[in-house]
Every structure is written in C-alpha cells, then in structure tokens.
C-alpha cells in the first residue's frame, strides 16, 4: 500500500481530492475555498498601515491561515515520509526546451539550478523569486482570487467572472512560459 502511495499520483485522483475540498470546506463551516486571501489576511495582520483594503477583522478569517498552514505541514509530511525517490517524469518536449536553458537536473520537484539559495542575490534569482512572486501576489489580489478561488470555487458555482479570470490566467501563463521565460534565460 505504502509503495502505491509513494508513486506519483494520477491526475484524476488529485483532481478528485482537490474538487472535494470545495464541499468539505462548505460543509464543515460554510467556508469558501480560496488560498490567495491568506496573503491579504497576513498583510491585514502584520502591516495594515491604515490602508482601507486591509482594515477588516482578519481574526474572523483565521481559519484560512490554519488551512494554508495545514498545506505546509501536509507538504512536509509527504516529502519526508511519502517521498518518491525517482526523478520526476517530465515530457520529453519540455525537457528538450529546458536543456537549452541549462536545466538538466530533474531529480526534484523544482529545478535546483534555479530554485536554490545561492541564486537569491543573482539577477536570475531576482527574476524568478522576487519578480515572479510579486506578480503572483499583486495579480491574484487584483483579480480577486487565484486558481482555487476563481478556477475551482468560482467555476464550481458557475460564476462567469471567474471564467473570465481563468481564461486570463491561462493567457498570462502561455505568454509568460513561451515569451517571457525564454527571454529571462537569454538575459541571465
């Protein structure tokens, strides 16, 4: 059994479990599935700075921080005890492209040639961590939600603005992966 769990899981299992998060959160406490709000709550908690957008009772939303804290713990458990020792299987066509950028290590979930501490003070690190992270935080809040809040919760409840947002997430992602990322690799 443990052997099966250690293998990478099939997309349908992952999709099923992620989809079931929607009714689970609704039924255990009337909570709407959404992750990016946690960033807003943390801002409201730590640096509200009299900004109206952060003046609300974040304590009422503390469940959301427990939820994301749980995600961190779950990831830790999975990486420590259910670890898959083999290389991650990546599509050959993607590998071919990444080889050209000097990404040759497929042993971890993240490419260690980019996502390592030694890169923090390099321009490449700045582009991938600081610039990329900023866009994630700014963009999700501007859009009013992320993949969970819009694409999963929003689409599940048939909200057309969430469909618009999801389509725009994808457009942004396609543009970024095919135009911006190759450009970053060319620069640094």
């Amino acid at each position: 059994m443990l052997e099966i769990i250690r293998q990478p899981w099939h997309w349908s299992i992952a999709g099923l479990l992620i989809g079931l998060t929607v009714p689970t959160l609704l039924l255990i406490g009337n909570k709407k599935f959404g992750v990016s709000s946690s960033l807003r709550h943390l801002c409201a908690m730590c640096v509200p700075a009299n900004i109206p957008f952060f003046q609300y009772e974040w304590k009422k939303e503390i469940w959301n921080l427990f939820f994301v804290g749980g995600m961190l713990i779950g990831a830790l458990i999975a990486s420590k005890f259910l670890h898959n020792p083999s290389n991650i299987v990546v599509a050959e066509s993607t590998k071919t492209v990444l080889y050209q950028y000097g990404i040759t290590d497929f042993s971890k979930l993240m490419p260690t040639q980019i996502f390592n501490v030694a890169n923090i003070f390099t321009l490449k690190g700045f582009a991938f961590f600081v610039f990329g992270g900023f866009l994630v935080g700014f963009g999700t809040r501007y859009a009013g939600g992320c993949t969970s809040g819009h694409s999963i919760m929003g689409l599940s409840t048939l909200q057309w603005p969430s469909l618009v947002a999801t389509i725009c997430f994808m457009i942004g992602g396609f543009f970024s992966a095919n135009i911006i990322i190759p450009f970053i690799f060319k620069l640094f």
Binding site: W11, S12, A14, L16, L17, G19, L25, L26, I28, G29, N30, K31, K32, G34, V35, S37, R40, A49, I51, K60, E61, F66, V68, G70, M71, I73, G74, A75, L76, S79, V90, S93, T94, F115, N116, G125, F134, V136, G137, F138, G139, T140, R141, Y142, A143, G144, G145, T147, S148, G154, L158, Q159, P161, S162, V164, I167, G172, F175, N178, I184
Partner: protein, 162 residues
C-alpha cells in the same frame, strides 16, 4: 467604481469570504488545518507544485494539469449542485450560502498579471506554501515577494482601473 463601503471592505475583490455566522471555539480551526494537510499531501504527491508541471502545461506538452484542474472543477460543480439540490446543512446546521461574484476589470488585468507570475514561479499561492513545506527554502523569498505584491495592490487599489 471602487466600492469603499467600509462595512463591506472584506468582500472587496474577493470570491472567498467567510459567510459563517456561528461562533466557534478556537480549536475548530484545526478542522481546516486537517483539510489543509490532506491538500498539501495531494499537492506534493501529484507533483502539482512542480515548476516542471507548470512549464509542461503552458507549453501544451502534457495533459496532466488540465486533467487535474478539469476533474477538480467537475467534482466541485457536482458537489455544489448536490448541496443546493438537497439543501445540505453545515456541521453546525447552517444553510450553505453562495454569493454571486460581480465582474470588474481587475479580473482581466489582475488575472493576466498573475498568469505571468504563475509560469515564472511555477506556483499559484497554494503551491507556494507547499513548496516551502517540501523543503525548498528559497521559495520563502517568492512568498515574501507575493505578500509584498498583495500589499502594494492594497496601497494602490483606488488608483487602479477596476
């Protein structure tokens, strides 16, 4: 354009606000942590938090992520339909509330910006937490930067087109 009714400040630009009216003791939050733990395990074991999966998805080299998101949406829709159809109640007996989301242009501009960041970091906000949990310490920088991005949005919110 920007609704700054203070009583409604939490609902601004957010699809996932807390509708529960029943007050619970603090330990109830552990329920959500438990759901989060399962979620985090799924994220790692299905390799959804992998930067490589995101590159495959946005280069149309793999069906995997489309399968995950597609299945999740179908399961979510069916669940919501069942909850509405049978008027299922929460554990504490409340009616499950749904709220319609109103459109604003932020859902276009913001979503495009997030999409760009998603491909670069290989993470939406959820996987950011899971990447840190799986030991990629450097993602703490990405996370802090995402917090800064959210804060800067809050700061400039009234000047941005919505």
């Amino acid at each position: 354009m920007v609704n700054n009714n203070l009583e409604d400040v939490r609902h601004q630009d957010s699809i996932c606000t807390n509708e529960a009216m029943v007050q619970h003791p603090f330990w109830h939050n552990l329920k959500y942590m438990a759901v989060g733990i399962v979620f985090g395990i799924v994220f790692v074991k299905a390799e959804i938090i992998s930067w490589f999966r995101i590159q495959e998805m946005f280069r149309l080299h793999s069906f995997f992520m489309y399968g995950v998101i597609g299945t999740a949406v179908v399961v979510g829709m069916l669940s919501v339909w069942i909850i509405k159809k049978f008027n299922l109640k929460t554990l504490s007996g409340e009616t499950v509330k749904f709220e319609d989301k109103s459109f604003n242009k932020g859902q276009i501009y913001g979503a495009l910006i997030f999409g760009i960041g998603w491909a670069i970091t290989g993470a939406c906000p959820g996987p950011l937490f899971a990447q840190i949990g799986s030991g990629f310490a450097v993602v703490v920088i990405t996370f802090l930067s995402a917090l800064a991005g959210t804060w800067v949005y809050g700061y400039f919110r009234e000047k941005l087109p919505h």
